[in-house]
């Protein structure tokens, strides 16, 4: 079933049935200051599973995530989440529709305790109480650290907390930016196992520099190069396509 959904058909006609895609980003252009960062990015995310955004440093992967969330609002194009156009909405309204964000460098609130970091993500009263057990089954370490302030955690613990924070409300889509960055291999393994488990809860869009990690997690991919999406398809095909990997991602 997943394989069927894994062939979104990159840049196909717009009359394709929308419902099988939870997120449909069409030709967005985003400026930061006077710089034209995104110059036409298309991302179609099939419902369920993991889609990886690949590309070199500075290609515009993080900006794509931020544009989806409206943190850097696109000037052109459309972003449709579950049948609803997101352009023109404020970031908090977009997030409240059910999109969780795990940013680059984690953005843990250092002054807040681990528990407060989770509680602040509540969208309705009782979210935290409902999800507590699930979160601690994924990341047992966090339970031990619950009273510590966010600034006192190690990088790996902060990454776990950042993902856990996105799990507190009922999110249907998770945008995860560079979860493996700066972590030890053992912790990366743990993180990957956790992310794999999350697919039962939500669809995931993953930005990942480490191709090994991305190729093991994602079923579909989109390659972004110099602010444009240049290729998309099933991860299985990309793994065997050494030429493309060398061309857009540097090493294989």
């Amino acid at each position: 079933m997943r394989l069927a959904a894994a062939h979104p058909g990159f840049l196909t006609a717009r009359d394709k049935v929308m419902t099988e895609h939870i997120l449909d980003v069409q030709d967005i252009h985003t400026y930061i200051g006077q710089y034209h960062i995104l110059q036409g990015v298309n991302v179609r995310v099939p419902k369920g599973g993991i889609t990886a955004l690949l590309g070199r440093n500075g290609a515009g992967k993080t900006t794509t995530l931020k544009s989806i969330l409206g943190l850097t609002p696109p000037r052109q194009g459309s972003v449709v989440f579950d049948g609803q156009e997101l352009r023109g909405l404020a970031s908090f309204e977009i997030a409240a529709l059910g999109i969780g964000f795990v940013p680059e460098h984690r953005a843990i609130f250092r002054e807040l305790t681990v528990e407060e970091n989770l509680r602040i993500a509540e969208r309705r009263k009782g979210d935290y109480a409902r999800k507590e057990a699930f979160i601690f089954s994924l990341f047992p370490d966090l339970q031990r650290l619950i009273g510590l302030s966010g600034g006192a955690l190690s990088g790996g613990q902060q990454q776990m907390l950042a993902i856990a924070r996105a799990l507190v409300p009922d999110n249907r889509l998770l945008l995860i930016d560079e979860p493996s960055e700066g972590l030890a291999p053992v912790i990366i393994e743990h993180m990957m196992a956790a992310i794999r488990q999350l697919t039962a809860e939500a669809t995931i869009v993953l930005v990942e520099q480490n191709f090994l990690v991305a190729s093991q997690l994602a079923e579909t991919y989109v390659i972004i190069e110099e602010g444009r999406s240049v290729q998309a398809g099933a991860m299985q095909e990309l793994i065997n396509d050494k030429a493309t990997i060398r061309r857009y991602l540097g090493a294989a």
Binding site: L69, L71, G88, A90, S91, F92, E93, A95, A96, F101, P103, A107, F109, R110, E111, L112, E116, R119, I120, A121, R123, R165, P169
Partner: protein, 515 residues
């Protein structure tokens, strides 16, 4: 414990040095002088804290240096004073204000209407401005004819100063009531309602992005009904309300003055954030210039409405007792006579200035601390100080929190102002001096640290008051027989000097976070 000591070594040393300074300073002071000066320091410190804490909350979360904060402190004082000596003006103002706000309570409905209107075209672009124009004409016609018991600044006998004097001598003459001039009350009410609706609809039209909003909720109906009831009720029972206010016990009147002053301060702050500060978040320098300009405009407005004379608001009966049994010698004694002063260590302590104000400051300090630490709003504020974008990405409307924090900050300043009115008194310069105090206190304590604001304000208050006292009794310089008497200009200079010393040693202030 050991790590705590190491982490806070500099702070402990600084405080120890200050404690040593105070101890040395008290050597040749009478105990009564020392206690009174200490309490006065607490009093000035508490007022400074009320300005500084709001300023620091606003700066911490919004990155706005609100240079108008001192002026808003002063406006709080004048509003409270006016309500205290001229409640009739306040009663007269309730009706037009409630009616003008009522249009905004229906914003949901206007948004719904705006979504249905054609989204483009010249008419759509012009319509709001035509509405504003009609509203302005209507208001220009109605307001001068509307009965508001306002005084003439140049007519001393009718100015609030004269009423204040009379009130402090125990007489409360009823000022003449204003009447409708050449306009029917019904027409005036209708005109106010129409102009309010036009302004609210126009603003919605300008802002709306063409997206359909929610239709009218029962909540907006409740709000509108409530506002209309308040407005029309205040109009219908104007005379009775005015008489009731004038007959009110001064303690109650003072409480009402505090509440009205704080709410109008908060409302003014919220309005200021939404209309003037919000469009300029991308241009911080313009924001700074704007708040500076607003402070000048505010000061001039106060001068235009209330005039220049410096005045002290009469104290409420609870703190104004004199005559038999006064000054009180014990707390119980004070409770029976409500004396204005109480004897502590053979010195006369003014209850309102030196006990009540520090007490209110302490209560505010603790309650805001609890809000910051325990409530969801406090959690969002603490998180937002670090990373606003991430808070927004969690689905939290940070802009609304900005408005709430701005309103809270200005409300605190207004509370400081109305508390200061009966102690240090009202003047056109009280805002500037307290803003300066607050800025120095924040530099000493740490710009965005809440406990830092408290510590800095306390140090500034204490240092000022001790310097004033030393100006009277002199400091003996050790190993010489020179008696050094600080002259008045040294008082503000001493706090600046303390700030310079602290900043040289700890660039982030005593309790500030290292960046």
């Amino acid at each position: 414990m050991n790590t705590f000591l190491r982490k806070n070594l500099l702070l402990i040393i600084t405080l120890a040095v200050l404690a040593a300074f105070l101890a040395a300073a008290s050597r040749n002071m009478e105990p009564s002088d020392f206690v009174i000066t200490l309490l006065r320091g607490f009093s000035v410190g508490a007022l400074t804290f009320l300005v500084a804490s709001g300023f620091s909350l606003i700066f911490g979360l919004l990155d706005v240096l609100n240079l108008a904060h001192g002026t808003l402190f002063m406006i709080g004082a004048y509003v409270g004073w006016t309500l205290y000596v001229r409640p009739d003006t306040f009663v007269d103002l309730v009706t037009p204000l409630a009616l003008l706000v009522s249009g905004f309570a229906l914003t949901d409905g206007w948004r719904h209407l705006a979504a249905r209107a054609p989204a483009t075209g010249r008419l759509r672009r012009l319509a709001p401005w035509i509405g504003f124009g009609i509203a302005a004409l209507l208001l220009a016609y109605i307001l001068p004819r509307y009965p508001i018991a306002i005084w003439n600044v140049d007519d001393y006998a009718q100015s609030p100063v004269a009423y204040s004097l009379a009130a402090s001598q125990g007489q409360a003459p009823l000022p003449p009531a204003a009447t409708f001039k050449a306009i029917a009350p019904g027409a005036a009410v209708l005109g106010l309602l129409v102009s309010s609706a036009l302004i609210a609809l126009g603003l919605t039209l300008i802002r709306s992005s063409g997206q359909a909003g929610r239709p009218l909720t029962w909540r907006s109906f409740v709000r509108v009904t409530l506002l209309l009831l308040i407005g029309l009720g205040a109009l219908r029972f104007n005379d009775a309300l005015t008489a009731w206010f004038f007959a009110l016990d001064t303690n109650w009147l003072f409480s009402v003055a505090v509440i009205v002053s704080v709410t109008s301060g908060a409302a003014l702050g919220g309005l200021m954030e939404v209309t003037l500060i919000r469009p300029l978040y991308v241009r911080p320098i313009y924001q700074l210039m704007l708040t500076l300009g607003l402070s000048v405009i505010g000061t001039e407005l106060v001068r235009a409405i209330w005039g220049r004379p410096e005045f002290t608001m009469p104290k409420p009966a609870l703190f104004a007792g004199a005559g038999e049994g006064c000054p009180a010698t014990s707390f119980g004694d004070w409770l029976t006579h409500y004396c204005s002063t109480i004897i502590v260590f053979d010195g006369r302590v003014r209850v309102y200035n030196e006990i009540f104000i520090p007490l209110v400051g302490l209560i505010v300090l603790i309650s805001i601390w609890i809000v910051l630490k325990r409530s969801r709003l406090g959690m969002i504020i603490r998180a937002g100080v670090q990373d606003r974008q991430m808070v927004e990405a969690l689905g939290i409307n940070v802009r609304r929190v900005f408005t709430q924090v701005f309103a809270l900050g200005v409300g605190l300043a207004a509370l400081g102002g109305v508390l200061a009115a009966p102690s240090i008194g009202l003047s056109n310069t009280m805002g500037e001096s307290f803003l300066l105090n607050a800025l120095i206190a924040l530099a000493i304590g740490g710009l965005t640290s809440y406990p830092g604001a408290a510590l800095g304000s306390l140090l500034v208050g204490l240092l000022q008051q001790f310097m004033i006292k030393y100006g009277q009794i002199g400091i003996p310089i050790p190993f010489t027989d020179i008696l050094f008497k600080p002259t008045p200009p040294i008082v503000p200079a001493s706090t600046v000097l303390l700030m310079v010393i602290v900043l040289l040693m700890m660039p982030n202030g005593l309790l500030g976070k290292k960046e």
